[in-house]
């Protein structure tokens, strides 16, 4: 089994991306192991009486030269709320690296990312890390409204972005699954990757099955340990109940009982 670590990371900066989302960049106290898109860390929430367990967050970026690891924190409840408030100089204890990454695309493949909410984190990481030319990569990013989108200008070089909002305030009006790329051009892709709300991922999976396209999703089952010992995070699959934290969080939809 690969080595895992528990370490205090030093917060380098914390940039607010929109009303609820924060990009937290941290310095690792020892050289980072290789970490791929889809893998995650389990973060301790300090000084929060109501919270007992850690909280999992996908790795958003790795900067090996500076030994930085970044996550995007979206405020959902008390734990993420506390974590979103860290400032430069704070430390965060992380268990890392956890989980299995996405299956990286091969050269020349055309790939589609579909994400919503904090689900953009592992997808932007993969878009940047997979090494495909911009033309081979499309990303549909959905949100409720304009303000919920985060600025992805830095990532424009890695793919073509398509935005949707439920209220039409930015990009296409409607759900990501109603976007023309999904509706009409799906067959042109070799691989689809989805990460976001469960209902969204299920809808994407249904389309992918129909068109028989390779599709991986990243699940967010609630976790106690994050490294395979508690068996709390299971997902029923065709291979039985599997731990999302060790056999996932990335699953090929063919394995899921959706």
């Amino acid at each position: 089994m690969e080595k895992r670590f528990v370490d205090d990371f030093l917060v380098i900066d914390n940039i607010q991306l929109n009303e609820n989302s924060f990009l937290v960049r941290m310095f690792a106290p020892k050289p980072l192991p290789e970490i791929k898109a889809g893998q995650f860390v389990n973060a301790e929430i300090k000084d929060c009486r109501e919270i007992f367990l850690r909280r999992p967050f996908s790795v958003f970026d790795i900067d090996y030269s500076n030994n930085y690891l970044s996550i995007i924190v979206k405020i959902l409840g008390r734990g993420s709320n506390q974590l979103a408030r860290v400032i430069k100089g704070d430390t965060i204890s992380l268990i890392y690296p956890l989980g299995r990454s996405f299956t990286y695309p091969s050269e020349h493949e055309k790939i589609l990312f579909i994400g919503g909410g904090s689900g953009v984190a592992p997808m932007l990481f993969l878009a940047k890390d997979c090494g495909l030319p911009r033309d081979n990569v499309d990303l549909i990013i959905g949100a409720r409204t304009f303000e919920d989108h985060i600025n992805v200008n830095d990532y424009n070089g890695y793919g073509k972005f398509h935005f949707t909002t439920d209220d039409g305030t930015y990009g296409f009006e409607g759900l990501v699954t109603e976007h023309p790329l999904m509706k009409k051009n799906l067959s042109s892709f070799d691989k689809i990757y989805a990460c976001g709300p469960l209902s969204m991922m299920k809808a994407v999976a249904a389309e992918a099955v129909k068109k028989d396209i390779f599709c991986e999703v990243s699940l967010e089952n609630s976790m106690a340990c994050g490294f395979g010992v508690c068996l709390c995070c299971i997902e029923p699959t065709k291979r039985g109940n599997l731990c999302v934290c060790t056999e996932g969080p990335v699953f090929n939809i063919k394995d899921l009982k959706w």
Binding site: M1, F52, N221, M223, A224, C225, V229, C230, C233, P236
Partner: protein, 303 residues
């Protein structure tokens, strides 16, 4: 130097800090963080005769200073353990103890007999206290009669070290402890989780698929400590203390209350390297208090 060694019947432990069943997988997962041979012993994930898928998701709910689980003994069965897991872990240099479960006495015996064949498993922990299964489990552990029967039958089938794990969901845990001692248990470990429940007020649904689940973590420490103290005063066999141990101070409290060794469970989820911190903390404490051996702490409560 201080002496951390502890003897639990025929088991020689290099220190009293062990890992609780169901919270450390099959030792490999914790070994991914540090060299597992450093701990006193590892209680492997609960094992049954046949493959069990366990309960439905969700199986976990956070509570104040604790958590509820409803895993329900998901495991691939004892044969899979013997064929695929045991070969990978058998050479870890620390006692590996199988946590034996069953829906019937017969199943307990069958699992025990199979495990008995394994050279590198020097002991079993008879789990008669799992609150998350419909049949067997806690049902045996909450009645003196059930505890008596299953202990007697398993004892007959097993000559290595037999540890019986007790349920806290009883009126008088000393009664059960005395019964299993009477049937030849070599040690008792306590406690397993407390039966609890969590409700989502907004949806008005239980937070666990099974409605109720087992409570663990620091919330239950005062209750576990009390039971360890009561049981240590009631039996002569060594007591292994479990329940909400999060750090060396907690572990020392259990030793003082009468435990010969301890297991740390839920704490591993928050801090997988906590066993090392506890071992170091006990060492420091002994030095600071001019004690030569950890066994001097056991049952040393000043009244």
């Amino acid at each position: 130097m201080v002496d951390l060694r502890v003897k639990i019947h025929k088991l020689d432990l290099k220190n009293p800090v062990m890992l609780a069943s169901g919270t450390c997988g099959f030792a490999e997962e914790i070994n991914s963080f540090f060299d597992i041979s450093k701990v006193g012993g590892v209680f492997l994930k609960g094992t049954t005769l046949n493959n069990r898928e366990g309960n439905n998701y969700p199986r976990m709910a956070e509570t104040a200073s604790g958590m509820l689980n409803a895993v329900g003994l998901q495991n691939k069965g004892v044969d899979y353990f013997i064929d695929y897991i045991y070969p990978r872990i058998k050479n870890y240099n620390t006692p590996l103890i199988v946590n034996v479960n069953g829906s019937t006495v017969d199943e307990y015996i069958k699992v025990t007999e199979k495990v008995d064949q394994l050279e590198h498993i020097p002991a079993i922990e008879l789990n008669i206290s799992c609150p998350n299964v419909k049949e067997g489990g806690m049902a045996f552990g909450i009645s003196p009669k059930g505890a008596k029967t299953v202990t007697r039958e398993v004892r007959r089938a097993y000559s290595k070290t037999l540890i019986v794990k007790l349920s806290p969901n009883v009126t008088d845990i000393t009664e059960i402890a005395k019964v299993v001692e009477g049937e030849g248990a070599d040690s008792v470990s306590l406690i397993n989780t407390f039966l609890g429940m969590s409700v989502n007020a907004e949806t008005r649904k239980p937070r666990l698929s099974t409605i109720t689940g087992g409570l663990s973590g620091p919330a239950i420490k005062p209750l576990a400590l009390r039971m360890v103290w009561q049981v240590a005063g009631a039996v002569k066999i060594p007591v292994i203390g479990i329940g909400g141990i999060m750090n060396a101070e907690d572990a020392i409290e259990f030793l003082i209350a009468g435990a010969s060794a301890i297991q740390t469970g839920t704490a591993l989820f928050k801090n997988p390297v906590v066993p090392l911190e506890i071992i170091d903390g006990i060492k420091d404490y002994l030095l600071r208090h001019n004690l030569k051996s950890v066994s001097e702490l056991t049952g040393s409560l000043h009244l």
